[in-house]
Amino acid sequence: MPKKTQITIDRSTFDSANKDQSKYKAKPGLSKEVVLEISRQKNEPEWMLERRLKALELYHNTPLPSWGPSLKDLNLDNIIYFVRPNTEEAKSWDDVPTDIRTTFEKLGIPEAEQKSLSGVGAQYDSDVIYHKLKKEWAAKGVIFENMDVAVQKYPDTVKKYFMTSCVPINDHKFVMLHAAVWSGGTFIYVPPGVKVDIPLQAYFRMNAELGGQFEHTLIIADRNSEVHYIEGCSAPRFDAKSLHAGCVELFVHEGSRMRYSSIENWSKNIYNLNTKRALVDKNGIVEWVNGNMGSGTTMLYPCSILRGENARSESLGIAFAGPGQHQDTGSKVIHAAPDTSSVIRSKSISAGGGVSSYRGLVRATPQAKHSKSSVTCDALLLDDASTSNTYPYMKIANSDMDVAHEARVGKIGDEEIFYLMSRGLSQEEATKLVVSGFIAPVIKQLPLEYAVELNRLIELEMEGAVG
């Protein structure tokens, strides 16, 4: 009988920084020297260094975005853009240094392994220290690798896909930054016709104070393949404001199906400015599941570009904004081929003065005939001090498209709370039950242990915000 594992999460797990024993740390601030040093230490090929330097130049010539949440407290000159932990890549759990292992144990990584999940990749600061893939998948040609290693081992594939057609290096200010200083992350390639039926997963954790995290995720699902990738992120709490600017590129080739699930629980002083995008070919399906409950400020709008006929995108998002938090999240879909369809469902919870905004875009080109899109945003406010905003943009360039949009904002009802309390639940239990019901449609899409974790995380956040 398999050992039953309970995932318990203690907020202090996330908020305590391990003693900083990093092997190498760049000086604060972004310069050509830092970029050269990153590339040198990673022993990168010339083309990657060129890409970094080009991005750096673009970055210096591009202003900060003028829309969305305020970034005025983000001091880009104070951030350390490269940190390498004091450990080599580990092949098995025993090779991981003890204090790092303790942290991961608190986060439940070995449990995840015990539950026979197919692979665990964990990023500790800028290096992946633990990375394993079950042999059966490797035998089928599935590659699940640290992004840094992939640059060395699979240069042709990486050169072709890395920040070229999906998220080009000139996309926006923080993509340019990311391209200049990216480090670590995940590379997955699934060969044609291969179906990876157990989710692949990785955990990211940021640990050097002021350490930026710029991991890159590149997933390629070749024709008629299937893959589900799960990422969970948490960061300990620091005094100075830190930045996370990751990038995710998904290639969903003809007839393939990809699901990307991510739970982001960065600590409250982090600016989480992430870019995630999928290119979906003919008959391909991409599914996004995103949960955002940490960070001080989040700007995240996963985007699907449906460029092949009959391509589909489904996007589910949950955001929780507690005291002092601004969650500016949403989904984007570009319909660029006939018979494409998209579904966006977004749920947000605001409590204790938190602000959540849905900012989404549905765009259709003239080629996107017989396409359809449906957008539903539900917002739940737990008190009068909290805020919810909705900015749904639609740019439809053909008259032959079916577009539906629905937005609902509700305050948690006195009648509902009274009803539950009249059956013996405390006010806090009643509120938690209503919130868990509100997010249930999204939670149901997650594998069980992640569903449990997400529920717990939201409950923990509510303990600080409801009162």
């Binding site: 009802g413 509902e416 539950l420 009249s422 039950l433 868990s436 019901g437």
Partner: protein
Amino acid sequence: MLSLNNLHITADNKEIVKGVTLNVPAGEVHVIMGPNGSGKSTLANTIMGHPKYTVTTGTITFNNKDITQARPDERARAGLFLSMQYPPSIAGVTISQFLRAAYNATHTPAFSVMEFNKVLREKIDELEIDRSFIKRNINEGFSGGEKKRIEILQLLVLEPRFAILDETDSGLDVDALKVVMDGVKQFATPKRGVFIITHYARLLEFLKPNAVHIMREGNIVRTDGAELALEIEKKGFEK
């Protein structure tokens, strides 16, 4: 068991209940009748501690304890139960999830999932509710009659000591009314009390109350035996 002592209740600064005094001892069933707007539902909700209502004067005591200022969950744990006239729906929360949370909040030791499910299935069958109902979200898309059955299901599973039934008989056809009232009869043992708010004397075909109170404009204007309900049904509240 439940005593209301010179109870005055306001909502939005308007006095709705104006000095009600009543006592329902253990083992008794009391009925309150009265025209719309006379303050019956306000009384029921206030006994349960609804935050919308304020007790300005008077006390509510339950088992000799003053609960006038207690929170609704404290009252529930003390053994009070209100079957609501219009119970709200709660998205994403199933009846079984809700009932188990409520059971564990009001009982020690708590049931295991298996024990709980066994009890739940028994009661569901007694109330002739389709078993698939417990997987549905609370009151979402339920008909009026279905909501009332689910309220009585909660009564039978949670086994409180005192039940307040606010128009639980409204919106039920004769067959459903019989099932629901059988449930109430099963509940009304000598150690428990029942307080029924209704418009209809037909309920007395199923259950004989110890007292009937007539409420009008915030006061109890008359109290008598079961026969009073029949008189009201014939003649109306005017007199």
